[in-house]
């Protein structure tokens, strides 16, 4: 996984394609995001395009409150959409979270609130 902050102040987390996201990976990613944000709360854009699956324990790990103020999940395929909705639907996420297939729409939603996916 890769974590960085773009010039707009959005923290970006990109998962490698074909990855099976486990609880440990989920915890490591959240720790990295928290470390990047230090004491600040910032929007988070997660590029999950092409991930293979998300385990149940990993989904549960994402319910822990982190330093993200809101989270946009970015994907492309129907598979990405199903995985993203599992992540959002079967767990109660602690901050506003939505799935996008357009990076522009995702960034816009993260910067100033609601927009279409």
């Amino acid at each position: 996984m890769v974590v960085g902050v773009d010039p707009l102040g959005i923290v970006r987390l990109s998962w490698a394609r074909g990855l099976r996201i486990t609880e440990q990976l989920a915890q490591d990613a959240m720790a990295l995001v928290d470390e990047t944000n230090a004491d600040r709360k910032r929007p988070l854009l997660v590029d999950m395009t092409g991930t293979a699956t998300l385990t149940r324990d990993a989904r549960r790990a994402f319910t822990r409150r982190c330093s993200a103020s809101r989270i946009a999940l970015l994907g492309r395929s129907p598979v990405d959409r199903v995985i993203a909705n599992f992540a959002m639907g079967t767990s109660s996420v602690p901050v506003p979270t939505r799935f996008f297939t357009s990076q522009l729409a995702a960034v816009a939603w993260l910067r100033d609130g609601d927009t279409n996916t």
């Binding site: 598979v79 995985i83 079967t90």
Partner: protein, 515 residues
């Protein structure tokens, strides 16, 4: 990536159907890998995989919870079983479990093993501890006794608490020597005082033993052990009694006697006889003791020693005492109006210590006197010395209330129990009745004379009056008078007689009012 051909899509759909079938058949671990196409079919495959994982995890959670609940249920059941089968205070087996253990031992005996024995024991002196130090100390004492009993039996034997201060032991494959050795160990274990906080409490045990016979049932065995224990309790306390058939016969006859006594109280079979109490200086009758008699329809005239024990055991003593009190006070009122005039004359009535623990007893006595217009100073209540042991707050309150009303209190049969000087110090006492065993041979036995003299000196030192009981000869009366004893009672002056006869005696008496 290449777009899948229709055949490839058809093939994946077939595999997806197969996956759903496998999961539906109970294979929670079935999964299917999506294709690199990541198309709609792959989305459904990933969704089904994740739903299957969710289902599997939920199943595991559920099974875990079922297992947890099962453990909780088993624990609850064990706890219930404990409550149902064990005594909560001591942790010993209760009556139910004891019955079960006896039945098992009897079943073993039916298969050829030696029959068991049951030991039933009742603590001597426990009531005094409870009354004097309270129930908390009493409970701690019971716990310690339970601990000691457990320490003197074999692992195969059962110790149970039947309630109150009654315990039972089942000894398996019991030989006579073994059981008697166990009983002896129990007695020895209880000889050391029990330390409860700063208090040392002594209790003994009366033990009844019953050896089971093949074919006997648990209830009969327990009943017979209880009968033997009862015999031990009523003999010399702290002894061991082995059950004999005659004991059961005696117990049955006591039950019959209790039934008959109940009818006798309400059916007019009781009468009061009166025995003179005489001033040893003037020779005049200064009072009478009311003594109950039972005109039994088949056994003739019965004296209190024939039935008071049964009355006390069955609770009939209260009704009996009240009947005697009311009858005798009514008689005194009649005598006051006819034979006695207003001079000093005291009616002595025996009461059970149970009465003193009955709320309103003192009020009832005062009401009885009022109803018959008898002065409180005309009445003297007698309580046996041994029975007064372990006086409790309620007893003391009753004694104080009686005293405040002006009613006299005498300690009866002094010299037969602990003969505690402590009693003589008590503020509630007026009279000490010296037991006949200290009077017999007074005029012939120098040792007896010295003992009587010492007791009379002590009574006098406490400013109390003495009544010597069982005076049978003029010599005894003379010795007593010389020793400073004020009053006497006994065959020397006359046996207890019915009211009519006593009326005649009182009328014939020169001047009862001069005493």
């Amino acid at each position: 990536m290449a777009t899948p051909t229709p055949e490839e899509r058809e093939d994946r759909l077939d595999q997806l159907v197969q996956l759903v079938v496998e999961i539906a058949s109970g294979d929670g671990g079935a999964r299917m890998a999506p294709s690199p196409a990541s198309d709609g079919i792959d989305a459904v495959i990933v969704g089904v995989n994740m739903l299957a994982e969710e289902l599997q995890a939920l199943n595991v959670d559920l099974e875990g919870r079922v297992a947890e609940r099962t453990v909780q249920l088993e624990q609850a059941q064990l706890q219930l079983e404990r409550l149902a089968l064990y005594d909560p205070l001591t942790g010993l087996a209760n009556r139910t479990l004891l019955g079960d253990r006896i039945n098992r031992a009897l079943a073993r005996a039916d298969r050829g093993a030696a029959p068991p024995a049951v030991l039933l024991l009742d603590l001597d002196g426990f009531k005094s501890v409870n009354d004097s130090f309270g129930h908390t100390v009493g409970d701690l004492l019971l716990v310690e006794v339970a601990h000691r009993l457990t320490g003197v039996v074999r692992d195969t034997d059962t110790v149970a608490r039947l309630g109150g201060d009654e315990f039972a032991l089942v000894v398996l494959d019991a030989t006579n020597e073994q059981v008697l050795a166990t009983a002896e160990r129990i007695r020895a274990a209880l000889q050391t005082p029990v330390q409860v906080g700063e208090r040392s409490c002594w209790v003994g045990a009366s033990i009844g033993v019953c050896f089971a016979q093949r074919g006997q049932d648990a209830d009969t065995l327990l009943r017979d052990a209880d009968t033997a224990m009862y015999a031990a309790k009523n003999g010399v306390r702290g002894t061991v009694q082995i059950y004999e058939t005659a004991m059961h016969t005696a117990a049955l006859s006591r039950v019959r006697l209790a039934e008959e006594l109940h009818g006798a109280i309400t059916g007019g079979q009781l009468v009061v006889h009166y025995q003179s109490i005489v001033d040893l200086v003037s020779g005049l009758t200064t009072g009478v003791e009311a003594l109950v008699r039972w005109r039994h329809p088949t056994r003739g005239l019965l004296v209190p020693s024939d039935f008071i024990g049964v009355a006390e055991d069955t609770g009939l003593i209260t009704a009996l005492d009240r009947w005697v009190l009311h009858t005798a006070v009514a008689q005194l009122a009649t005598w006051r109006a006819t034979a006695l005039g207003a001079g000093k004359f005291v009616l002595h009535v025996n009461i059970s210590p149970v009465e003193l623990r009955t709320p309103r007893f003192a009020d009832d006595v005062v009401q009885c006197l009022d109803r018959h217009g008898v002065s409180a100073t005309d009445l003297m209540l007698e309580v046996t010395e041994t029975q007064l042991m372990g006086e409790d707050a309620q007893t003391v309150a009753a004694l104080e209330a009686l005293r405040a009303a002006g009613i006299g209190m005498a300690i009866d049969d002094f010299g037969t129990g602990y003969s505690s000087i402590g009693y003589l110090r008590r503020m509630f006492l007026d009279v000490v009745k010296i037991d006949r065993s200290l009077i017999t041979g007074l005029d012939t036995d120098r040792h007896q004379h010295r003992v009587a003299a010492a007791i009379l000196a002590i009574v006098d030192a406490f400013g109390l009056e003495a009544v010597a009981e069982g005076v049978e000869t003029a010599g005894q009366a003379e010795r007593l008078r010389a020793l400073g004893c004020r009053y006497g009672q006994g065959y020397h002056w006359g046996r207890p007689v019915p009211a009519d006869a006593m009326t005649a005696l009182l009328l014939a008496s020169a001047a009862p009012s001069e005493t």
